[in-house]
Symmetry: C2
């Protein structure tokens, strides 16, 4: 099982955002939607062995965590609006500290970075880390940030974790997920 | 200069499509929008040394080619609607066989696969090709298909070209562009 967590620093935490204005009013929710798509889609298949967590820290009801579970996920298409629509539904139901399913394979709960980092041994995907191609045994959990850097408080929470880089340039979070998948796919196929 | 051409077999060729229905009424225009975004965006920069060509073969006025030129490109954000909006504008102006600019850095003309393959020495990005990591000198022009395979006629037009694969799995066209960029970035940075 590959686990990916993406921190959305400004991402809206209620379901009242407009699917046609995700970069604006929804706090760069478009970035997170592309991360969901990159996490799961192959050309003619779906990566069932992936979980993708979105940690939403924006107005008005932060923090919330949405979990996309590939094993049970339904109704997701590769386009941004499709992921956005499932996120809207997840953000429209009442939440507590336990996951509650909003649509098949999508669940939501209260929680932030300090909670999720206790639950999985995330490596940090960051352009300043060790080149992924040189790492003998890859971790199976990764955390990365949206278009903003991790805050100093988040950096403290992530101190001591493996830092892994997919390449020499700072790239978008969804692109980093795509390159990570490529490296894992290659190793799995013996390339 | 890196040149990328993506063939949109069903992609609408008039500007009357709805930005909120790009996977449906616009003939999977969402795929092409993600390819444009993957072609140009770094985290905090823009890849000016890239040209991205969309070859649109859908109803009602095929074929058309839209060229995105990184050097002059403006008004492009990473989200699908942003690229879709520039495509709509390009498809709304009269076209001939010469490129005509619709917005800064975006031009459109009549033309199809048989035209563009004469103009650049495209390698074919395809999962059945030679592993990109084993190729000593990478080409600077690549053609790839949207969610559909190249047709037999297109395969004939592309016969004899280098076939290059970015990994062992069949992945979406935008993901292939992202992995291609990663390989080129690594070589450029001496990784």
């Amino acid at each position: 099982m590959l686990r990916l967590a993406v921190v959305g620093h400004l991402a809206r935490t209620s379901g009242d955002f407009n699917l046609s204005d995700m970069p604006g009013g929804a706090g760069r929710m478009d970035v997170l939607c592309r991360c969901v798509s990159a996490s799961f889609f192959l050309s003619h298949e779906f990566r069932r062995d992936v979980e993708c967590f979105l940690v939403l820290l924006g107005e008005p009801d932060a923090p919330k965590i949405i979990r996309f579970s590939g094993e049970h996920l339904r109704y997701l298409s590769p386009d941004e609006r499709s992921a956005g629509s499932l996120i809207k539904k997840a953000l429209s139901i009442p939440v507590g500290t336990e996951y509650r399913e909003s649509t098949p394979g999508v669940s939501v709960r209260r929680g932030g970075v300090s909670d999720i980092v206790k639950e999985y041994p995330f490596a940090v995907l960051d352009e300043g880390g060790t080149d992924i191609r040189t790492i003998e045994t890859l971790p199976d959990s990764y955390i990365l940030s949206d278009h903003l850097d991790f805050t100093p408080i988040e950096m403290d929470l992530l101190a001591g974790r493996d830092q892994i880089s997919v390449g020499p340039c700072a790239i978008h979070a969804n692109h980093a997920i795509t390159v990570l998948h490529n490296e894992i796919d290659r190793r799995g196929a013996g390339w």
